[in-house]
Symmetry: C3
Subunit: 153 residues, 3 copies
């Protein structure tokens, strides 16, 4: 099933591609891949999840934030492909940064909010390599940031 069909089946509308918060572009296409800039859990122009995991935000909320980052990443991809998501071959890699307390070590659990959503949306084409790490601070106090590499034709 195509990604567009799957989104429709799930009743999901991709958001407008979020604008970068600074002097760079949302995505670059190079050598058959689209590199998408680090996405924050923005929804309608506002962050849905801020603070450190788990003292300021729960693992569950951070997982939902990671899922929102995926929606935003796919919105950016769609814009980069001039609306034609059928050119997506597969997800290659995601980098997941989790704003973490010093003694929080379940970053994979948070990052699964992104990974499992990609698998749900794209099946085999959604299977990706991943690096998930904790950091002490993220832009705008976001709890999660996700960057993406997609293969396209």
């Amino acid at each position: 099933m195509s990604l567009e069909s799957k989104l429709k089946e799930l009743g999901i509308t991709l958001p407008e591609a979020p604008k970068p918060v600074a002097a760079y572009v949302p995505a670059v296409t190079s050598r058959g891949q689209v590199i998408v800039s680090g996405q924050l859990p923005m929804q309608n122009g506002e962050l849905i999840c801020t603070g450190k995991v788990p003292s300021q935000v729960s693992i569950e909320d951070a997982q939902a934030a990671a899922r929102q980052c995926v929606l935003n990443g796919l919105a950016v991809l769609k814009a980069e492909l001039n609306g034609d998501l059928s050119r997506l071959v597969r997800v290659v890699r995601i980098g997941v940064f989790v704003q973490s307390d010093d003694n929080f070590f379940a970053q994979p659990q948070v990052a699964n909010g992104a990974s499992e959503f990609l698998l749900e949306l794209l099946d085999e084409a959604g299977r990706h390599a991943r690096a998930a790490v904790g950091v002490n601070a993220l832009p705008l106090d976001a709890s999660v940031e996700v960057e993406f590499t997609f293969e396209v034709n």
Copy 2:
């Protein structure tokens, strides 16, 4: 000398490729490169090195952990290549994350545990670009995480 021969000469047996700790895959091949997910210092299914450098783990132990990450990364690469390591052209890049105390700044020394081992195993083909940074937390309290990009044919 081939990587397989070098490993044999050094008496090193690659481990079974570690399973990812979450909903993603160990490696993806795209556009002539293999992207290997962030590897932790797992050995026989257990972490050999946890905690922050240097208050909870020594630089020497963290270097050994980085070396173990390389073994695991090569095991994942071999599995991705269906056992044929001769398809490896070169190491392109490694990303090294060191779980660090706030006042620890010798991440390059720790990361050298990975870099020097790659040079030893692969000579010219092991020369790689690198980004090494400190972070306040890593999955499962691992002291080091290393991700890899390999060029393959």
Copy 3:
């Protein structure tokens, strides 16, 4: 205008390509891209900016450090291209790590020191994807580290 001409117009001389601080190489060319290792704000062999933002170093100084990382990255690129910067097609991605206090969330502002300089030097070819994150520690206590992916022909 070519990058060399633009540098001349601005009165900027690229530094000698900084040597890596450890057992890896400054850059690797693979599949039509040059991957440049994480650059620190070195100038004439010394760091121009150390400490955490903003308690130990101002945002403005960190921005200048990010700009210095760009100069060093371009110097590495030039060396990798045997002096011929005309082979540069575009900047694909930069990864920016800012050594941050736990409550500092303006990493994009710091990273703009790098992004805006790339745009100034390269116009359209300087537009790039970006991931900017905070970390609690960086090599040699540097305030900023920037890694680069360039497309070349």
